[in-house]
């Protein structure tokens, strides 16, 4: 019998790989290109400068620079761990009923007609990515089934760079972009957006950020939503809404879910991927939700059964822990009040950081108008820095932004604010 050899010299081996069974079956596997985010984080970790700052993370960081647990969440975790009635059993593939019920209400509002008419499907998923993936698989398998639909899916430019991969992994290869962020205007360019969607083939899926657009932080106004949804309905496109850090923009759950509620109120069918990581500080717990609003309640059972079938070949059942916590909070009015208070502090801190940053930059005389910093809200903002300037920041000042010039405001705190403001100023004024 053969024993494993020490490292093989692969260049000596033929392409069809049959060197007496000693060649690895993985020989032809190439190293995957790392995502830009991964390379950035890797560079940051290697950076030995004591003043370094990482402003490209996805989590909310508190003033001491760490992700943290909401006090309420901590208490509930302790309560749940002492609860003698917890049953270690497989949950349903669709997740905890109490969780999906509350998650649905949070997105659509308790009195939503769609809920009352029982044409809403809610599926608990292990996180936000999983919710998008499930939605993508549902579309690929069942969207306009007889027409064998296979795309296209339209993503905003820019968007989270993992989105395209998720749809492709689900088997939808035709991914396109629609115009969103305009560098000159430093905001959303509605005209160009509408132009792109007007050209989209019928039955295209359009992925739209309901709030807290990643990575720009630039959201659509109510008027813009009205115009866009009118186009979507007229052109027979399908909306897939993203609601990741709900409640972290304005501290107001309902306000951030407005676009979802508006679309539903227009009688549209839609998918919506939600995450509860941010607004509950449950990053490690993978708490996500996929919402599906249908036109007819006669379809609910079928779509539900197919969603369950898809789930069974992906992860079988979602994990209970985090969803339990969210359900416990949302189904108790006193907890909800306390939760909203804690979230409010997070939101206020982000606003404060934005104001302070704006002031510092103004005082330094940094070129450009910085009002947009306080006009937007939420975790992310676009500084307007170009690629060269972003690189300057990381190489020379050890301040790491996303390549698009966007940054996570919560990573700025009392200790690094001055240095970061100074660094941005230098990036803008140093000739590169």
């Amino acid at each position: 019998m053969k024993r494993p050899d020490s490292k093989l010299n692969e260049t000596e081996v033929k392409q069809n790989g049959d060197a007496g069974g000693q060649l690895s079956v993985f020989t032809n596997v190439h190293t995957a290109a790392g995502s830009p985010e991964k390379r950035l984080l890797s560079a940051f970790k290697k950076d030995t400068n004591p003043g370094k700052a990482y402003l490209a993370g996805r989590e909310y960081y508190s003033e001491d620079g760490k992700t943290f647990e909401l006090r309420l969440v901590r208490r509930i975790k302790q309560q749940l761990s002492a609860d003698p009635t917890t049953r270690p059993e497989y949950p349903s593939p669709l997740g905890l009923t109490e969780f999906t019920r509350r998650a649905t209400e949070v997105a659509l509002g308790k009195s939503s007609r769609a809920i009352v008419e029982e044409r809403v499907l809610g599926v608990q998923t292990p996180g936000f990515t999983a919710a998008v993936r499930l939605g993508a698989e549902l579309l690929r398998n069942w969207y306009d089934h007889c027409a064998a639909w296979c795309g296209p899916v339209y993503l905003s430019s820019p968007c989270d760079d993992s989105l395209a991969g998720i749809f492709q992994a689900a088997g939808i290869q035709d991914i396109r972009e629609y115009y969103y962020w305009d560098d000159q205007q430093r905001g959303v360019c509605l005209d160009k957006l509408l132009e792109d969607l007007e050209k989209a083939p019928e039955r295209s899926v359009v992925v739209l950020s309901a709030s807290a657009h990643y990575p720009t932080g630039a959201d659509l106004s109510h008027n813009q939503w009205a115009v866009i949804t009118e186009l979507i309905m007229r052109r027979r496109l399908f909306p897939f809404l993203l609601l990741p850090p709900q409640a972290l923009c304005y501290g107001n759950v309902e306000r951030e879910a407005w676009p979802v509620q508006y679309c539903a109120s227009q009688g549209m069918e839609l998918l919506c991927a939600q995450s509860f990581s941010h607004c509950f500080g449950l990053y490690g717990e993978a708490v996500g939700h996929l919402l599906c609003v249908l036109k007819q309640n006669s379809l609910l059972l079928s779509v539900q059964s197919q969603a369950a079938t898809i789930v069974k070949s992906l992860w079988a059942q979602p994990s209970a822990g985090g969803a339990n916590i969210v359900a416990t909070v949302l189904s108790n009015p006193a907890h909800v009040v306390e939760w909203k208070e804690e979230v409010k502090h997070i939101v206020e801190r982000c606003m404060l950081i934005r104001e302070l940053l704006r002031e510092r930059l103004r005082l330094l005389g940094a070129p450009g108008c910085w009002d947009r910093l306080t006009q937007q809200s939420g975790l992310y903002c676009n500084t307007g820095l170009n690629e060269d300037q972003v690189e300057f920041l990381s190489q020379r000042r050890h301040v790491y932004l996303l390549p698009s010039g966007c940054l996570n405001v919560s990573a700025i705190n009392g200790r690094n604010l001055d240095y970061i403001a100074e660094s941005i100023h230098r990036a803008l004024t140093t000739s590169l």
């Binding site: 999983a130 992994a169 007819q296 992860w315 822990g321």
Partner: protein, 410 residues
């Protein structure tokens, strides 16, 4: 007009339907032998004492950060989980050619392995590579591999219904005649649903053919420790294959042996020829994970990691596992004894020869129907029972029912 207008109602999954029917049954002495989880002698689910203890430790630990886990999962979990499968002193681990991906349960691990193989094994995106699953096998195996894009998922001979044992000749025959580079899904121990595992000598024969014909080894290990009560014994087949020089995947589930069904704790262990190959494989795995769930949940993985890396807790866990395995062995012994005492027609040695949670009783569909309808004892149409559904309170009733069924229904 809805865009989902053509969506058909999916067929209900048999085991869930069985549970539903059981729940709706009003008969006071009804018994559920279709359940797929461990039950105590009181018929209740069991939170392992060590898990309860560790949960408290975790919840009061102020030093834990609450960030997203790395895409590949909690490092301590991945390495300790792989060690459990391959052995503390595994040469492959020492040679740095073992890696792992934390996944959403055993299903998630199978899914990640399947997605990787479909993309990178036997060429690029070769959806024609045959994937062989045992006949019979866990009903979800087919769906996971098919959904990962494999066009050709086929059965390999395994269960000999007539002799109520392993069809070794058939199995070896399929190994000899299958297309080269085929993928074989092997049950590491406690075969689901038959409870019939190859002996060590039989595993050696299977390994010899697989090595010679360059077939890919994909172990499904959902019951380590649970089968015999001994972790090392239950891992013998996996470790043997590693020692023979195979590259392989091993999908591990900690749902049963930790009672963490609802926390979805799984691990895909990867054994490669060398560290360089391993590194490249893991880099591609990360991309696949990134588009499925991105960051796995931490709770269950933390519980397992803390337990496995503390000698005291590890010892306590092994005791808890043995408690579960011993109860199953006791029920097996008692059921067989009672059937023999009743003089029930046929041989019942297979009840104690089979191992793990499940037993293929040998009851035919008509007999199963009789058991369900007349005796209110719920089992799968295949004749599969979950030994955990037996308790000291219902075992007499079950034994009598089997006796009556076999006597009256052919």
């Amino acid at each position: 007009m809805s865009v989902f207008g053509e969506v058909a109602l999916a067929a209900p999954v048999a085991v869930f339907k069985l549970s539903q029917d059981f729940n709706n049954d009003q008969f006071p002495n009804k018994v559920n032998l279709g359940v797929g989880a461990y039950r105590t002698d009181e018929g209740k689910p069991w939170v392992l004492p060590v898990v309860k203890k560790v949960e408290k430790v975790i919840v009061h630990d102020d030093s834990l950060n609450h960030e997203y886990l790395p895409i590949l999962g909690l490092p301590e979990f991945r390495s300790s989980a792989s060690k459990i499968a391959l052995g503390e002193d595994s040469p492959a681990i020492q040679e740095n050619r073992v890696g792992a991906v934390q996944c959403l349960g055993g299903t998630g691990a199978l899914k990640m392995g399947a997605e990787f193989l479909r993309r990178f094994y036997n060429g690029n995106n070769n959806t024609n590579t045959p994937v062989y699953v045992s006949s019979p096998t866990w009903e979800n195996h087919n769906a996971v591999f098919a959904n990962a894009g494999f066009d050709d998922v086929r059965p390999y001979k395994y269960w000999d219904a007539e002799n109520r044992g392993l069809d070794l000749a058939g199995f070896l025959g399929d190994l000899e005649s299958c297309p080269a580079h085929s993928i074989f899904v092997l049950h590491a121990c406690a075969h689901n649903p038959t409870g019939t595992d190859p002996t060590q000598e039989q595993w050696q024969l299977i390994a010899e053919v697989m090595m010679r014909r360059q077939l890919f080894v994909f172990f499904d290990s959902a019951y380590q420790g649970f089968a015999s009560g001994n972790l090392d014994k239950d891992a013998w087949a996996v470790r043997y294959f590693v020692s023979m020089g195979f590259e392989m995947f091993c999908a591990q589930s900690f749902s049963k042996n930790f009672g963490l069904y609802n926390e979805r704790v799984g691990n895909l262990t990867i054994v490669a020829r060398d560290a360089d190959n391993l590194k490249r494989v893991l880099s591609q795995m990360e991309k696949i994970v990134r588009t499925t769930w991105s960051n796995p949940p931490s709770q269950g993985a933390r519980i397992v990691a803390v337990t496995l890396t503390s000698p005291e807790l590890f010892s306590e866990w092994k005791d808890n596992v043995k408690t579960m395995a011993d109860r199953v062995l006791l029920m097996r012994a008692q059921l067989k004894a009672k059937l023999q005492a009743l003089g029930t027609a046929g041989t019942w040695d297979h009840i104690t020869e089979q191992i793990g949670m499940f037993s293929f009783t040998g009851l035919n569909p008509k007999q199963v129907e009789y058991m369900v309808k007349e005796r209110h004892i719920y089992l799968m149409a295949s004749g599969r029972i979950n030994m955990c559904g037996l308790t000291s309170k219902n075992i007499d009733y079950v034994a009598e029912s089997i006796h009556e069924t076999v006597t009256n229904v052919q």
